[in-house]
Point group: C2
Chain length 342, copies 2
DNA sequence: CGCCAATTTGGTAGCGCTACCATCTCCTAC
DNA sequence: GTAGGAGATGGTAGCGCTACCAAATTGGCG
């Protein structure tokens, strides 16, 4: 007669408690919760009453263990504070809040190694889907993604050869469009200023270069980059460097809006007329760009929508209805504003 | 002779595989991984070799189920895109990245109901600790926190009566300090502009009011608020409203830096001299405030550090070394800049 | 009226791990 | 020489849930 060992779980009600109270088998409770249409209405009602009365909440860990599938979306982004990724993440959260899926969010700090580590960790949870930023995974990461056994969505960019699905846009085209706009507006000595030169920034730079070369205006001295994390203050400093290097500079395509804002502020401070003396184009089109004085031309990207679409595609794949379009290009819009209106 | 049912788990190695390969019991492998000092060095080495060879990664779900404790920190914030919370979250992530703990992040959208729902959900996972933003939980949420059976840290604010532990600062004092600074600088018709009037904003407003009343300057018409989510463009609009209402306005304390930036831009646009005609003070001191032209006075808050401290306190409590100081006030700093230097 | 299929319900056997207790060795103390 | 304790290792029995299969019930049809 071994004494019934105290319940380790701390006394929260289990599915067995609900089953007992409702006078049914445990498996029926499980079904009533997951596939209500397969249980008669009467039992469903009884079970719901028992659930409410006991305050039963299923244990996701037990569920994941028994079904070999956790109701978790793994999400990997390079930064939590960069507004761009924060918006994508918000789109993901909003799309998933009404679903049973939880989110496991990882911050790679722009490190391939960290990405591998997190992918390994996430994989051990058997997630229902994985959403990762970027398309330049290391070979090891790519292998992990391919063998994850769940839908995978690469976001922020489009490119050939997706692991599974993709939602984003072409950063190269964005960079080109921004630069062409400056050239069309009459700017000639157009610089590129970019911090945190991640793969997406590299492609924007490539777009800039393509446009400049096509116009016969490219000059390597016009390009100013740094691997340092982007910020408004960095934008200001880099602009000063760029101007010192090329005093005839008359326009800048900034890798992102933070940099552009730093440039704008420095122009104010140094009494450089915008858009007359210098034209400025940013990237991403944060809310503040249209409010700035002068308002700043920027490439509007659809970050929130990228998050939503990624979830929608993953959900469809989970439901077995894999979208026929595996690569979704959400594009971008050039927002022409005062900073380039000369 | 029932055929051995195919492994549901999809063939990833389990602790039993490692044990077999290392020639030890499963429980010894478990111990070697969790409490290496309790296993002889020789076995430890053998086990590590087997783990590496098989690429074994423990299943966190099984672990959580067996130990009735998930290695998860539940984190609840009202917004993912607000830079202030993003910084706190980043501090939490950075502090936890080297630990075995995962993070479950929830977005309450400033809704008490949503907070309750998420708390309920998180509770079902038996988290190792909970970190929640704010101190104004609904009674139901507070009950959930109190019965969570794990350390709880309320962040962003300090106040009496913590559920368990607290890290933050006094928003009332911050609001008062900002307003007193404007008054000392000689501004008299000082307005308050605040969007998204959450409890913290309310307390900043209370600080503003206290300072204005102490100086005999308070006038309800100086206060402009809205429940709408804060943004730079909203800041611009609200400032125009405020100015229309009180044309003699000569200073503004903005509920946050986004609003302050909107005010600054509108001043540029309307050729209102800053700091001569209007003084501006923000709140939080985002990087861009010191770069802006003119640079903007703001209340610097230690968001990242709040995240780090919250984790440190929770970790200490988990380890049984509950910090003797349950309420940590990290304070704030008034950064005097050009926008109030007249 | 019996047979088969469809529908609803339940029992059993794990999922992969760890809590708990038992065992075994080795060492110290008297 | 033996008791007692500390340290290392292992076995057993679940944790709470669901996959799989079996059984019971219902209904349609020849």
């Amino acid at each position: 007669m071994t004494k019934p060992r105290t319940r380790r779980g701390g006394g929260r009600p289990t599915i067995a408690d609900v089953a007992r109270k409702a006078g049914v088998g445990a498996i029926t409770v499980s079904r009533a919760l997951r596939e209500p249409e397969r249980v008669s209405e009467e039992l469903r009602r009884q079970i719901q009453a028992a659930v409410d009365e006991l305050g039963y909440v299923p244990d996701p860990n037990a569920r994941a263990l028994a079904s070999a599938r956790a109701e978790v979306f793994g999400v990997l982004v390079p930064s939590l504070t960069n507004n761009v990724f924060a918006e994508v993440v918000r789109g993901i959260y909003d799309s998933l809040s009404a679903s049973p899926f939880r989110i496991q969010l990882g911050n790679t700090h722009y490190s391939g190694l960290e990405e591998e580590r997190l992918l390994q960790l996430f994989g051990s949870q058997r997630p229902a889907a994985l959403i990762v930023a970027g398309i330049d995974q290391t070979p090891a990461s790519r292998k992990l993604l391919e063998s994850a056994g769940c839908p995978v969505v690469q976001v922020m960019e489009t490119g050939p050869d997706p692991v599974d699905m993709m939602v984003g846009f072409s950063h190269l085209d964005g960079g080109r469009a921004a630069t062409e706009h400056l050239i069309e507006a009459g700017y000639r000595r157009v610089g590129f200023i970019g911090a945190r030169m991640d793969p997406r920034s590299q492609r924007r730079l490539a777009g800039y270069r393509a446009a400049m070369e096509a116009a016969g205006l490219f000059d390597p001295r016009l390009v100013t980059t740094t691997p340092v994390l982007s910020s408004v203050s960095l934008g200001r400093e880099m602009f000063r460097d760029a101007l010192a290097k090329v005093p005839t500079l008359d326009g800048v395509f900034c890798n992102n809006d933070d940099i552009a804002l730093g440039v704008l502020f420095e122009c104010h401070r140094a009494s450089i007329a915008v858009p007359k003396t210098i034209g400025i184009v940013g990237f991403n089109d944060l809310d503040m760009m249209q409010v700035a004085f002068p308002s700043v031309t920027s490439i509007r990207t659809h970050r929130y929508e990228i998050g939503r679409r990624a979830v929608a595609m993953a959900l469809a794949a989970i439901a077995g209805k894999r979208p026929e379009q595996r690569i979704v290009d959400l594009g971008f819009e050039l927002k022409r504003r005062e900073s380039t209106a000369r």
